[in-house]
Point group: D2
């Protein structure tokens, strides 16, 4: 709707620049009485935090979240819970070295939005990318922490499945491995190779892209809607809204183009009284509505645009020039996108859960109230 | 917002099932005094119409559009123009052979939304897919016809760039060729090969997927918005909302994951007083805002789920069974998705054009009125 | 959002002009499996229909509604029910005497939107008011018929409580009387007086205004939301969107300005185990949320602008002139606004019911599903 | 849409409780390069601030606003301007005496939303009303400060026109007087009488209601939209969303019900080349679209519910009890609603200005761009 909001019943409105006093988001629509403390949000922010290893930027961003509204003590349990009113999550900017960015004030960095922002707005906060900065994604991760509370019982995990030209071996997939390496890589052997590869990229002052896979398990059948309100359409929009993302796919995605109808068919059967599928090419969504299988989304992140190799560009006055983007930059921003992808999945699912509760025919029919 | 609407200022609301009396859409928000006659819409519908060759279904769907509202004679020119009020576009269903679909009343077709619709709604119009039917996309094409009027001066074209496992040779790209073969294929040689391939697929009662590329030229710099209102995020959601679409990418898309920052960089220069780019890996969008380059979107369509090979499935009561989907079906629904992709591009761009006019700083500042 | 839609989960999109081929609305978001036949809608349209007595226009508008989509046979009961997909309600225009309106083509009728439409759009369908025509309210009444299905158990009634300067005697209020006179007047004695009064107004070629009161009973506690999503804020917007409405109030409304805090206080007590109130000055809404008491809304309709007395005005070219609005017009459009007010109440409540089901803490907590 | 947001292109999202660490709002959609400093916002907040005289509460709420995002130095002028990104306005809560409110923890105050919040949410921040508190209106006034920047050239003023049963004499209206008394009363004589009246009310521990009139001058012709997007419908919703408001009217409002068509008719003429009206019964809006005349809105505020007279009520467990609401309360909250009404008018107009720019046929047609 508005440019900086998404979701319908569970709605996130984000604000803030990388070098202003703070940034944050308003999470509106979370049902009341969900336990929520700052630690619940901080847990997820800490996973996204840069500066944790030599493959992400060395900036010291503690990303300490404060809950400014929307929580209070539960009248029965005394625990801090949501109250049904908007939750404002605020993160102060504490490590802004504005001087690092002074030479990009007038030059447009290729691959960045410097040029398009100036054309549209005629002004931009050039310090650290301002509103374009990937720092905005911290607010998404924070919002995702609230969404996960709404999704109690649903598991959302993500992994890096390709870095530069190097994909993982999917037969070696082990979710536990994602916690053992700096890449959230589920294939231990690939992780080791990536370490060498990224060292080379980093030393060359270059950068590389990545592919992230996000999986939501235990989503019930029936979330989503036909036509324009499809669950996969909302997921595609949500993932594509993350900085530097250039592609999104559901289930087998682009690979399905090359499949035959027979190979792509997810046959159905019964399994101890419940419904089962022989495969999950569809990625857990049929006709825009969740099927009860794992929801599988992948997205591609382009290589970091800020590199040490000089690039031809123009300045604000239209003069040709060259630019080298110094400063502290991730050689692969895709790594930090892993928890961001999880958060976007959580926010979209939370919104569709609430929308589903309003319209699900069974829920609806059971709804009785004494005063009717 | 609602499940069957999209767009903010230029907003399309679709309704109708494949076997009801009619289907259509309301197009709300088009500025007044745009010339608009039924022929303007029919032109685009005719391109989508099935039954035109042996590779699309043999159903006879004339898809005759009627404009029921929102147009009137211009006070100056006398031509029929939009009035700024909602335009209702109605298409009657005239060739519905309900008997063809009677055996899918109780069985869930794998890959279709039969199962998920029943779980969510407890009822579905099983005739011809009802609301799930690709027939709904006719209303998108109709809406796109209005959007193109809003986008006067902008050219939107699409092509099929892969069918099954067979991509085109991009060096042979010739837009003129897309009008010479039944696939909207820009590579004459590939088109000839596809003809043989599709014949084999069709005779085997099988099906195949496809990849479509949509290109919008002459879009000015500055349309779109940062963060959640990104032009590419809206395009991704719009394309993913088309039936059977499993993936969307902008510019070089998934391929960027394997590129280095240097290779992916679209360098900038000046070109006879205007700004030029050395390449277009970004697909015409930077930071969610159009850059003035061609906007390039690709999407993947899965193979038609309705095939003649028996598939294991369950019925509405949970009993295991088999299903063969007879009837008149396209072996490759991707072919008919080409004009649908163009239409979705047009609708998203029209919406962003109107939103941009409301917020563009230059436009805004020039806005003077005597009474202020 | 869009100009011709309202509601969030239960959303109505209206289209059509008074003298085009048809008008109608799309009702999106109704839960599935609600019994719905054309007769259910027609019942309410027949109440609004003009030409029923000498106090409403003598145009013959049968207002025959067709349901074009969104219904199908229930798999269990076989009855026609909603399917959860958009319901298109279409009403053909059959009695359009365009010649009656030819002389208003170029003159602006005072009190009408002729002038403002032309300034904004530069074109208008001047026949019978086009999109400005009160005929559009037929689509609201039709949508209200669907909303009432969603609100099973809730009773929505309206009455005319003042016509011109003549209010009813509230002590004589009898809902049954509203069916016994052509004004939906709950006070038999006032109705008799109004008959004389309106005859005078009609014979003088003049017109008069009216006040309508809409009451919803058995609305459960808890619908609505704080701050901008207040139930009363949505009701105020909905009522003010009806043609010719100039004021809206909830409960005691403007009269509360003159009350003391003590007199305005609705004291609470227990009543056979449930909660009771000593009065209902608040009109059933506290802090934007329903209290379980009757929801009471009143709105004022200005006198019909089309009168036989010549009025000074200008034409499209800015020349001064005079106008007499002939044709078949209601001396008091407020009468026909009674069922429209009911319909708007129904639509707003249906929307808030669905939104409430998505966020009510109790409903939410009980929501369990086997797969989580 | 969401419960705590309003507006479409110019969109305000409010958050915060009266006794949390802070409250504020995100203003999204303001065009770039509007000069905006904290002082611009503070100016309006200072007008709303309580504790300024003995007729508003003696709480010391400095309401110091901070702009946390969305502004930067203009590249040409160096002045601080909007950047087109969200503006977060934050107000810290500094004078929260929680002990004052401890006895309302379990009792429901008649006329307050204590009961309805608990029924809906099962938990509430009972300190000072929490989210229900009129303190939330400070964020509206802050947002209105940004909206006024968007509305450069338009004048928005408000006045108190009735307090308790005492209306002003409209013949004595003098806008200058509104700055000379503590009531924003435009009638000096009435203001003097009100002072005595309010002293009596205050000493009695009672309260009274009020009526506020808001006037916007120099709004151009053409803002607004037909049917559901009417400018007056949005104004009605906006005013009714203010705490304690029970009625809204446009122009002559409820009084039009008693007028004849002739008396209510705003005749048109030409006036030195421009279009003029003989009267403004319509309040500057025809068919939902601004006519160029003053836009006139009035709203009624009920008497403060917190009074010193004991009232019968129930507690959270359903037991009957009595309550006296001590603490620092305004005898007439309507006084402080004056700047809030102005702010809501400003926000609605700013939103419609942006929407109009996107759709106005003239603006649209003139829109040329070199690349098309």
């Amino acid at each position: 709707m508005s440019h900086n909001s998404f979701g319908h019943l569970f709605r996130v409105t984000s604000w803030g620049e990388s070098h202003g006093p703070a940034l944050g988001c308003v999470v509106d629509g979370a049902p009341a009485r969900l336990p929520l403390e700052e630690g619940d949000i901080q847990h997820w922010l800490d996973r996204r935090r840069p500066g944790q290893n030599r493959f992400t930027t060395q900036r010291n961003e503690p990303d300490r979240v404060k809950i400014l509204s929307g929580v209070f003590e539960d009248p029965e349990t005394g625990a801090q819970v949501t109250t049904g009113t908007p939750v404002q999550l605020l993160i102060e900017n504490t490590d802004q070295r504005s001087k690092d960015y002074s030479d990009i004030k007038d030059k447009y960095r290729p691959g960045h939005a410097d040029f398009t922002y100036m054309e549209k707005y005629g002004v931009r906060d050039y310090r650290g990318g301002g509103r374009q900065s990937a720092r905005e994604t911290a607010t998404r991760v924070a919002a995702g922490g609230v969404a996960r509370k709404v999704l109690n019982g649903i598991r959302i995990r993500a992994a890096l499945v390709q870095i530069g030209p190097h994909p993982i071996d999917r037969d070696k997939w082990d979710w536990n491995e994602t916690e053992n390496n700096p890449f959230w890589c589920p294939d231990a052997q690939a992780a080791a190779q990536w370490e060498d590869y990224l060292d080379t990229v980093r030393k060359a002052g270059s950068s590389c892209g990545a592919i992230i896979e996000v999986v939501a398990s235990h989503v019930p059948v029936g979330w989503g809607a036909p036509v324009y309100g499809k669950l996969d359409a909302d997921l595609a929009g949500a993932m594509m809204s993350i900085n530097a993302v250039k592609g999104v796919e559901i289930g087998d995605g682009f690979a399905t183009a090359a499949l035959s109808g027979e190979s792509n068919s997810d046959e159905m059967h019964t399994e101890e009284g419940t419904i089962g599928f022989g495969s999950n090419h569809a990625g857990g969504i049929l006709g825009g509505i969740s099927s009860g299988q794992d929801i599988v989304v992948r997205f591609a992140v382009k290589p970091t645009s800020s590199i040490l190799t000089p690039r031809k560009t123009i300045d604000r006055n239209g003069n040709e020039t060259e630019i080298i983007t110094k400063g502290r930059h991730d050689p692969c921003v895709g790594i930090r996108a892993v928890p961001v992808g999880e958060a976007m999945m959580a926010c979209v699912l939370a919104d569709h859960k609430l929308r589903h509760l309003g319209q699900y025919h069974g829920q609806y029919r059971d709804q009785g109230n004494g005063r009717n």
